[in-house]
Amino acid sequence: MLLALLSILIFPGFLFLFILALAAEYIDRKLYARMQTRVGPPWFQPFADFIKLLSKELIIPELADRVIFRTLPLVACAAAATAFLFIPVYNAESIFSFKGNIVAVIYILTIPTLTYFLGGWYSRSLYSLIGSMRVLTQLFSYEVPLLMAVLAPGVLASSWTFSTVINFYQANGFLFLVNIISFVVAIIAVQGKLEKVPFDIPEAETEIVAGTFTEYTGPLYAYFRLAMNIQTISVSALLAAVFMPFGYNLGFVLGVIVFLLKILFIIVILAVIRTIFARIRMDQMVMLCWKYLTPLALFQIFLNIILKAVITQ
């Protein structure tokens, strides 16, 4: 009981996740700045932003639904953090593990995006309304390739449970490298999920002010930002577990270090993509996802089915 509480609250639960989330934002912004030949923010910047936003005045628009408006940011945070609890950190078993938990994690990770949509919808502001419609359109375009890409490695391991997939690939050496296509697809789709350039269409501040979050002030906005950062960590951990299934039997200390390195690797890739691209239009985004990413993900699944037949013979 105490151990379960500790693992929820401290490691690898909320505290660990909170620090990781702020660190992720810092690394992302710092890399972004360095690639623009700037100095970039100091290391405490995300923390200072968080505290400042918490201490600011809270304004709720007159027309907004007060209860829903207030609860959505917390729901987003909770959902993003819950997803992390199901993902393995330093050994193949996550703290709460059950059969088919890869699918469950993907669905829990959809909840924050839905709260962004609802948050914009219930703000009753024109800009946030447009933003929330864009969130939803974007959700329908990246979710399918992401789902297929993340499930593809499981096809080869004939299971959608983290521990089975990880153990399967760990027993098979470099076999996980065949999933490289779906890894690329997943990275691009995740960029859309995290609403970062080139897929920051829902927040496009040059077009629609601040998109879904236009009306959110102070503490509520702080929670939304935190949810976004936690989501970055959760998604990176998910990709790390599925596409880089090695280093899960090294014990506690080494295991955590390897895990952090993997997350760092993914965050660096995401930051590089953010730097070198400019925002694309909504229709281009939908086309990219349905015309190129989905067939690629399908191809990976077929490849894995054939490979599986070859291996089992």
Partner: protein
């Protein structure tokens, strides 16, 4: 304990001033200088400054230009949309006192005729260095006033 929290909050406010930029009828030169101050050359993110699209997220309202009668209501509305604590900075001679537009029939003379202003940055146009200097001075004065408040509350 409460004092420590107060200190932490003041520190965080000093370290992350998010700005929003509003043209209240400037000739556009001051706006270009504000945008120039945000480019990688000056790298304001070093001080935690970020440009925000919506007044709801911002702490500092950067206004340029004497207030035209048309835009006065909107300026007041945007000012009211900023959550507390908020600061207003008047950028450019026009925003400070009317400048070359002084006495025009369709203009007020300066931002402070419409909303309270915390810092004035003169110059026609105000250079990016002057804008950065002005904002750091604003933050310093805020820090001092907060420190004074804390000592008053303590003793």
């Amino acid at each position: 304990m409460i004092k420590a929290v107060q200190k932490l909050i003041t520190w965080s406010r000093l370290k992350s001033p998010w700005i929003i930029h509003f043209n209240t009828g400037a000739c556009n030169a001051c706006d270009i200088e504000i945008v120039a101050a945000l480019t990688p050359t000056y790298d304001l993110e070093r001080f935690g400054v970020q440009l925000k699209g919506t007044p709801r997220h911002a702490d500092v309202l950067l206004c340029s230009g004497p207030v035209t009668r048309q835009i006065k209501d909107r300026l007041v509305r945007i000012y009211e949309q900023l959550p507390e604590p908020k600061f207003v900075v008047a950028v450019g001679t026009c925003a400070c006192s009317g400048g070359v537009f002084e006495g025009c029939y369709n203009m007020l003379s300066g931002i402070d005729e419409a909303i309270p202003v915390n810092a004035y940055i003169p110059g026609c146009p105000a250079s990016p260095d002057a804008i950065i200097d002005g904002i750091t001075k604003l933050l310093k004065s805020f820090e001092e006033s907060e420190a004074k408040k804390l000592t008053k509350a303590g003793g």
